[in-house]
């Protein structure tokens, strides 16, 4: 079959070879078809174009383009074709070969060629073969795009001939892919199509899948006997593969059974035939049950006024007497089998890739939750303080980023300024809050929760008063636009990668601070036994203040990161607060690894549920929370639990 393709190709190349075509000028060639060109019709233009293309005249493409663009005029006197420049009353004539000005004419002497839409399309497809080999890569790409947009059989030879001499590697690949897709659908022999279909098996792109699905398209069928000549995709047994109702509807549609008479139809028929408060021998007042209505209708049918009812048993019998099936539109079973095999291979690969893509999505969600929750985990774990205003610190960070962008228009620079600034501002806010409120409420955790909630609503409303209720943008730098594309299915945006990296950096940083610095040592000491720590000369007040500031500061940075991919609003904090708490609680309090585990679990869980039920993120969240509530049942202290007396009770 490849041989056949090659023969085809060779014949086209001979036709197109420019060597033979230099004798006659383009004008002469055109004049042989003068009439058809001057007033082309949808039907005749094909032959003319074929003849013109056969001459392979080098100036032909330009002419065709101008013709298609309605820029060619004909001189009425001698029927010669010209390109023109329109003046106020005279027209400047330009030779179609040399492109030199050859004279002027009055408008009255000339007629503009106005090919209609159908003709222009035909010209266009003839042009494609020239454009496919055009020296300008932009035009070659445009030609390929045009073919991909509307695939048809006649483009295949032109495309095949334009593959070998394509200099650009990427475009060459695209061309052969497209040729493969075209060949799968339109190659002349069955062998050629099967070979082409098999060649598609490694391609994950949506358009390849569309081509295969197109080949595998089916039509619902019904017949008394299963037809022998049809390419049956699937036999549908009524009751298992297809409901009796649908099966009967198909019978009705195929005129193999009388139409079903619904309750509404009965009601309409009865209403129509009411006479003197009676219909079908029954007073209308009694017609308030389906039973009486049916009796009345049967009476009407007996009088021949309405079509008779079809009983359920009759319907079932009729359905059972017929065979229902799905038949491929493609007649050759060899081709559909090949397409099915290719599609299966592809779908398997797509499923794997989707799993990988989902994993990446889940990872990025997990890193967002980690960033949002880690600050909370620190304050909660070290100080046992629930900070309901944590979400508002995230919001403050995001607004900091927004305000910085108002003053620093360079996005890269503004983000670089915003990150430390957000940390500083929320650190300050956290320390202020710790000094003024929280430190008076140690050992009263529930009251801390409520007091910080008071701060939370005040801050939220304050943000609303200052920045308004509408969402504010926080624009990411240009180099973060776009996505890292692995294949047609796996892709991840650079912002998400950046957030992932940021989360990793913070994980490392926090681990470093907690495990390797003096501050970390003191913090851990205070976490485990505040009384003992105090007696060893650690000032728990100072540690609490710094810890709280640190936790809040990280929230600020998380806010900048979250603001980059979500909108900045005064309520954005409350969107994350419950998830953050969940992360901390699920992960286990007082442990960085626990928070990481919690964030991963919640991130993966949420993506997993969304994947199972993609239409409904609300349901996904509901199920996730229910799952977490159940999870807490089995691990009340979270994934990474402290044990022993240190855990306290």
């Amino acid at each position: 079959m490849i041989r056949i393709l090659l023969v085809l190709l060779a014949s086209w190349l001979t036709v197109l070879s420019p060597v033979q075509a230099q004798e006659a000028s383009l004008q002469d060639v055109l004049q042989t078809h003068q009439e058809e060109i001057a007033s082309p019709s949808r039907r005749s233009v094909g032959e003319v174009l074929e003849a013109l293309v056969a001459t392979a005249h080098p100036d032909l493409p330009r002419f065709l383009e101008r013709w298609q663009a309605r820029e060619v005029w004909v001189r009425d006197a001698d029927g010669l074709f010209f390109f023109v420049e329109e003046g106020a009353d005279a027209i400047t004539l330009i030779d179609i070969t040399s492109l030199e000005v050859v004279g002027t004419a009055a408008k009255a002497e000339m007629t503009e060629l106005r090919p209609n839409g159908g003709v222009r399309r035909v010209i266009g497809s003839a042009l494609v073969q020239f454009q496919l080999s055009d020296p300008d890569i932009e035009r070659r790409i445009a030609a390929v795009d045009a073919i991909a947009r509307a695939m048809s059989a006649d483009q295949l030879p032109a495309l095949l001939s334009a593959i070998d001499n394509e200099p650009d590697a990427a475009l060459k690949t695209r061309k052969s892919r497209l040729a493969g897709m075209l060949a799968a659908s339109f190659a002349e022999t069955e062998e050629a199509r099967i070979a082409a279909i098999a060649g598609l098996g490694s391609d994950l792109s949506v358009d390849v899948r569309a081509v295969l699905n197109q080949i595998l398209s089916t039509t619902e069928g019904v017949a008394a006997e299963m037809p022998d000549d049809a390419n049956i995709a699937r036999v549908q047994m009524p009751g298992t593969d297809i409901t009796y109702t649908d099966a009967y509807d198909r019978l009705v549609a195929a005129n193999l059974a009388p139409a079903r008479i619904s309750n509404a139809d009965i009601l309409a028929a009865l209403t129509e035939h009411v006479a003197g408060g009676m219909v079908g021998g029954i007073p209308t007042a009694q017609l308030n049950t389906l039973e009486t209505r049916r009796i009345a209708y049967t009476a009407l049918a007996a009088d021949g006024l309405v079509p008779p009812l079809v009983t359920d048993a009759e319907r079932t019998a009729m359905v059972d007497a017929h065979s229902f099936f799905l038949a491929y539109d493609e007649d050759s079973s060899a081709i559909t089998d090949a397409a099915r095999a290719s599609l299966d291979t592809i779908e398997q690969k797509v499923a794997l890739s989707q799993a990988a893509d989902l994993t990446l999505d889940a990872l990025s969600l997990a890193s967002i939750y980690f960033l949002a929750a880690i600050g909370l985990a620190i304050t909660f774990g070290v100080m046992g303080v629930i900070n309901m205003a944590h979400g508002e610190f995230i919001m403050m960070g995001a607004y900091t980023g927004y305000v910085v962008q108002l003053f620093v228009p360079d996005y890269t620079l503004s983000i670089l300024i915003a990150l430390p600034l957000a940390f500083a501002i929320t650190f300050g806010a956290g320390v202020a809050m710790e000094r003024t409120v929280i430190r008076w409420l140690y050992h009263r955790p529930l009251e801390t929760l409520l007091a910080t909630f008071g701060i939370s609503i005040a801050l939220q409303q304050l943000a609303k008063n200052i920045f308004g209720t509408q969402a504010r943008p926080l624009t990411s730098p240009e180099w973060l636009d776009g996505a890292l594309v692995f294949n047609d299915v796996i892709a991840i945006s650079y912002i998400r990668i950046a957030i992932f990296v940021l989360a990793l950096v913070f994980l490392a940083l926090i681990l470093f601070v907690l495990k390797r610095t003096r501050l970390g040592l003191e913090v851990r000491a205070v976490t485990q036994n505040p009384g003992m720590a105090a007696s060893m000369g650690i000032n728990p007040d100072r540690i609490n203040m710094l810890t709280f500031g640190l936790g809040s500061g990280i929230a600020g940075i998380a806010g900048v990161a979250i603001g980059l991919y979500a909108k900045v609003t005064s309520e954005m904090g409350s969107d994350y607060i419950v998830q953050s708490f969940m992360t901390v609680v699920v992960g286990g309090v007082g442990n960085v690894w626990g928070t990481l585990a919690g964030a991963s679990m919640i991130g993966f869980l949420q993506k997993g549920i969304e994947w199972m039920n993609p239409s409904n993120t609300l349901a996904a969240q509901t199920f996730m929370i229910l799952f977490i509530i159940l999870f807490i049942q089995f691990r009340p202290k979270g994934i990474v639990a402290l044990k022993g007396r240190a855990a306290g009770d």
């Binding site: 044990k643 022993g644 240190a646 009770d649």
Partner: protein, 247 residues
């Protein structure tokens, strides 16, 4: 021993790799007064935690009563209802409530929420409360919020609450801590009297106090029994001396 009330057999418990109790076996008879001593970290409090159900051991058995019931499957409240009372190291009485309310709560009665909801006091119950208050010397403070009692009084109130539960086994963690000499003597008296009809286990640091109890002593060290016998017997034991003085 056929009158064994509590048998702890081969119990071990580990906290994050630290073996707090290591193959510990102790038997308590009824009635009996037993003192448990040992240096810090010997596992005295964890031992009580295991009996009262606060901590679950990794291995071993805890058998209770004539019918040899295992305590390991029970919740704290079920164990308490079996007749095991516990007094904590730090006095924990309900400070917002009066002495009377504290005692009434501890008094042996049905413990279900609906029993309590429909509970109505009667003169015999009130009489019991007054009796108990007299025993612990708080008869004049019945309607005082227990938060304003002195440290020693709180300790007594807690012992009173223990007695009100009428337990078969009393676990008492450092009852004499922070008491004056006179208060200690009265505490000793209460405990000794209680031990005439039930089992009483006292965990104590104070050797003087233990001596006054004049009972069998068990020495714990690193989570297992180091020595057992009369106080003079165990204090003569060279290992015990090493453990107490060696570090």
């Amino acid at each position: 021993m056929n009158n064994t009330l509590l048998e702890v057999d081969g119990v071990s418990v580990t906290f994050d790799g630290f073996r707090a109790i290591n193959n510990l076996s102790i038997q308590i008879a009824e009635p009996e007064l037993r003192a448990i001593i040992g240096p810090n970290g010997a596992g005295k409090t964890t031992f009580m935690d295991i009996i009262t159900g606060k901590t679950r051991p990794d291995e071993g058995k805890v058998i209770w009563g004539e019918r040899n019931i295992s305590l390991l499957k029970m919740s704290e409240s079920q164990i308490a209802q079996q007749g095991i009372g516990r007094k904590f190291q730090k006095p924990t009485v309900f400070e917002a409530q009066t002495v009377r309310e504290n005692l009434a709560m501890a008094l042996k009665n049905k413990r279900g929420p609906f029993d309590v909801l429909f509970f109505r006091s009667n003169p015999s119950i009130e009489g019991e409360i007054v009796e108990l208050a007299e025993e612990i010397g708080l008869q004049d403070a019945l309607d005082t919020p227990s938060g304003i009692l002195s440290h020693g009084q709180k300790q007594w109130l807690e012992i009173g609450m223990l007695l009100a539960q009428d337990p078969r086994l009393l676990l008492v963690d450092e009852p004499a801590a922070g008491m004056t000499q006179a208060e200690r003597e009265q505490t000793t008296e209460i405990l000794v009297r209680a031990a005439q009809t039930r089992a009483v286990v006292v965990v104590e640091h104070d050797m003087e106090f233990v001596r006054r109890l004049n009972c069998k002593v068990t020495v714990l060290h690193e989570g297992s029994v180091l020595a057992e016998g009369s106080l003079d017997h165990v204090t003569a034991n060279q290992t015990v001396i090493d453990v107490y003085l060696g570090r």
